[in-house]
Symmetry: C2
Amino acid sequence: MRVGERTFLYDRPPRVAAHASIVGPKESEGPLAAWFDEVSRDDLFGQKTWEMGESEMLRRCVARAMTDADVVPEDAQALFSGDLNDQIIATGFAARALGVPLVGLYGACSTFVEGLVLAAALVSGGYLQNALCAASSHFCTAERQFRFPLEMGTQRPPSAQWTATAAGCALLAAEEGPGLHVTAGTLGRIVDRKIKDANHMGAAMAPAVEATILAHLDDTGAAADDFDLIATGDLGWIGREILLRLLRERGRPLPPEKLVDCGASLFFQEQDTHAGGSGCGCVAAVSCGWLMKRMERGELKRVLLVGSGAMLSPTSTMQAETIPGIAYAARLEVQ
Amino acid sequence: MRVGERTFLYDRPPRVAAHASIVGPKESEGPLAAWFDEVSRDDLFGQKTWEMGESEMLRRCVARAMTDADVVPEDAQALFSGDLNDQIIATGFAARALGVPLVGLYGACSTFVEGLVLAAALVSGGYLQNALCAASSHFCTAERQFRFPLEMGTQRPPSAQWTATAAGCALLAAEEGPGLHVTAGTLGRIVDRKIKDANHMGAAMAPAVEATILAHLDDTGAAADDFDLIATGDLGWIGREILLRLLRERGRPLPPEKLVDCGASLFFQEQDTHAGGSGCGCVAAVSCGWLMKRMERGELKRVLLVGSGAMLSPTSTMQAETIPGIAYAARLEVQ
């Protein structure tokens, strides 16, 4: 069922039957390290290039979710996935190795939540019995593609975020009964407040996150208090402050303790990542590794997961275009 | 309902309430010119860069479909779209201008059909009352991104295809009754037969197209004879021959007169496009402009539209990777 401006209430909310997360070396030294299913000391993941390393990390993560749910690749009905590489090659090559039907997505860092929102509708609607939702990012592939060759050692401004080397995968299944379910989803809409600084993604994305949180609350008639946590991914420290200010100015303030940002949670301040983590894989790994496990432990009952993306490219930046932001939201509930 | 390996039969098949197509200067001199809703002599579409020109072409095409169906942007519930640009910027900026909730997709040249398959499931499942499915491509943006600067005038091998400057958009609506409907869809699966030549996309994609056509027929218990036409997009002339040969060798031959390829149909041989057209926008414009109009005129009753994509990037090519192919299929029927 569709309600309000752009929200789906799933008639038969799919169960998160399994979830998996893998992170790279730097992420394995952060405060959430113990929550991830696999930490790798090798950022090439045994491959010859960073791109194929990212793809292998994603493949391994998806395979792990399938194993945990006792689903063999032949029985996996669809993989909803994307990444930040041009033409989403990490996803394409992972899907080649896995052999699972692919729904290729691009929503920048919102991709994981975009996949959850879509896949849950197809599972709920009876079109899929199961669906894998995944995303990956890699510091080295993103840095050289979007910014500068790594060898240059370019100085980064304080507002810059650090693309996480990480992958996450949630396996949705058409199963009722107790457990963790995706119960509602809100589509994203582009919001562009004319930010041009590609080193200040938090500022570019915060207005889209604000719009999607408010759309979700208004569409479902909910209040922020109905959630144990609103988890954004990834605004970073500065973007999180901007979001709190935007909501306050709108007259819809959010208690700061209700809001966590996946990117701001992934690293210690001392790790020199400036405004915090980012990348498709950050929100995917942090939600699959940390948030979903805390929900299953009974620490959190209802979480609004908001994935945000900056829909720019190096070409649009060079052409002096502003940065369009987008955000999708998925409501996760323990039932 | 899901049947067989990877096919959806839509319980309430959405109606194609409107469709629109726009092409550029070279396409307006081809054999299908009279079928397109708009032909532009300006390949910048009034913008300063080719990328923003492509985005404007896509925006205009989507807006035209909405106007034709009497849907104002505030009532359009979702835009399923993608393009070949890094980070799908043509789509992102078009969605910014339109203000419609966006589902960003990447399936290379299969994107338009990927969108149809997904959107039809969400409309049929009651999650959307309407959905815009669109895609675009532009010769100048693709050529300089995937191959060489245009100014170099690089010689192209005979197997190369010509990226079409084109956009297409179909508006699906939750409407019963007579008219053109999307009645079934088949998800894509990666097939990689180790082709490495990025100037021979037809060869890289034909095996995926073969697999998806056979999956669709087997999943639905249909034969090629049940269709008036199987329309691929875009294998080009050479890829079309390879597909016919693969099906013959498999013992499932397809009568050549049943198979049209959108890319092979878009240009005259004399236009020097070598193996024919390609690009996300080619199959989108040719199906929205030519095939759907022929169906509405009663010339064709049932068409299997198969969109195929090559999931490579310049980076994967430089890293000597082979080219993974994918293909989605949508069954279009006049009821």
